[in-house]
Amino acid sequence: MAVTQPDVPGFNLATMTDATLVRRVLDGDTAAFTTLVDRHAAACTRFATRMLGNREDAEDATQETFLRAYRSLARYEERQAFRTWLFQILINRCRTAAVRRLRRHRMFLVDDQAIAEASVRPVAEASDLRAELQRAIDALDPDQREAFLLKHVEQLSYDEMAAATGVGVSALKMRVKRACERMQWMLREASDVGT
């Protein structure tokens, strides 16, 4: 059943709520999905880039996320924020991407020669905040990194984080706290070193 955009003044996809847009997509209006993509892709890419440490993996994960979201849009329940639901998918995609990367990496670990020849991570040149920040985030354990990014970059509430990660609120608070402690320590170290 095709749904056309009525020529009605005031009809504007950009002003519709996420829930409304989802309903429109399910009614057949794919343009509404484009609006959802435009609303949320940047945040997804940002989270995935920081989580996975590189742009390419992040784009793959985000792409997969939106495709899965599209396929299972009927499962979205409106009482949950759309972004939280979307992030639930994204977080799983990121975790899977890490495991996939880990499998590729296992071959590397077996080879002592390869280990010996592996290049050391280059020291950040100037105290470029951007590089230092990513370096600090990379150094976090994955579960802490995930929690830290959700809390302080994507600024989800703890309840939303719990829904998106499947982890309990008190465990998440602990992870965020430890992540903050470590980030603080690392950034302080970084600012002490060099000019």
Partner: protein, 215 residues
């Protein structure tokens, strides 16, 4: 956009941290292309098995059944108790007893009082763990482990006059910690604690698990 409860250092980096990562037009085009070619999402709520995957592989799921004849399971009585992780380390949970006091962190203590209820946790992040070992002829005993960077000078024990045992109490963060005692220079595991499996450096270590406080 930073909240009032955010620390200053976070304020300083918040701008950079939350910097938008721009979406590449080529990436966007490819995605929308895929969406256009994909079948329309099912309107009825059907179980979409592809959505629920948590991992890439279907790992071997053959279950070995333990054949016991057991009756119907009852529910555990919900109670907060303390448990000694062996005689070596006594974990004391100082936790809030709430309406959904879960048996998850229920621990019972052998030597210490069996019930301890406080109205508020003493420490939100660390719990007090008591380590003890019987070494009547020793003159110096220390604790080494993952929590003190294996530094034999960091955590000496002292003799408890009442029992003659060497004791120390530490605040430890929740989680799994590996440790050993150094008794007059000899490294020894805690005889009554769970053992770590690796003996990379000649003798085994012990494990203590500190559970998260209920909040």
């Amino acid at each position: 956009m930073s909240g009032p409860d955010e620390p200053r250092w976070l304020d300083e980096i918040a701008g950079e941290l939350r910097r938008e990562v721009p979406v590449r037009p080529a990436w966007r085009a490819r995605l929308l292309d895929e969406v256009a070619r994909a079948p329309k999402p099912a309107v009825r709520r059907e179980i979409d098995e592809t959505f629920d995957d948590r991992g890439e592989d279907a790992l071997d799921t053959a279950r070995r059944r333990w054949s016991l004849t057991v009756g119907p399971l009852g529910s555990l009585a919900a109670a907060m108790m303390l448990v000694a992780l062996g005689a070596g380390a006594t974990y004391v949970a100082m936790s809030r007893l709430g309406a959904n006091a879960s048996q998850r962190s229920a621990q019972t203590s052998a030597p210490a009082p069996s019930h301890l209820v406080s109205s508020a946790p003493v420490s939100a992040e660390r719990e007090i763990v008591r380590f003890e070992i019987a070494a009547p002829r020793a003159s110096h005993v220390a604790l080494v482990g993952s929590f003190n960077e294996w530094d034999p000078g960091a955590t000496p024990l002292s003799r408890d006059p009442a029992t003659g045992k060497w004791v120390v109490s530490l605040r430890l963060p929740p989680g799994r910690h590996v440790y050993a005692f150094v008794v007059d220079g000899d490294v020894t595991a805690d005889p009554s604690a769970p053992r770590a499996a690796d003996e990379d450096f000649g003798s085994p270590n012990s494990v203590v698990f500190v559970s998260s406080p209920r909040v």
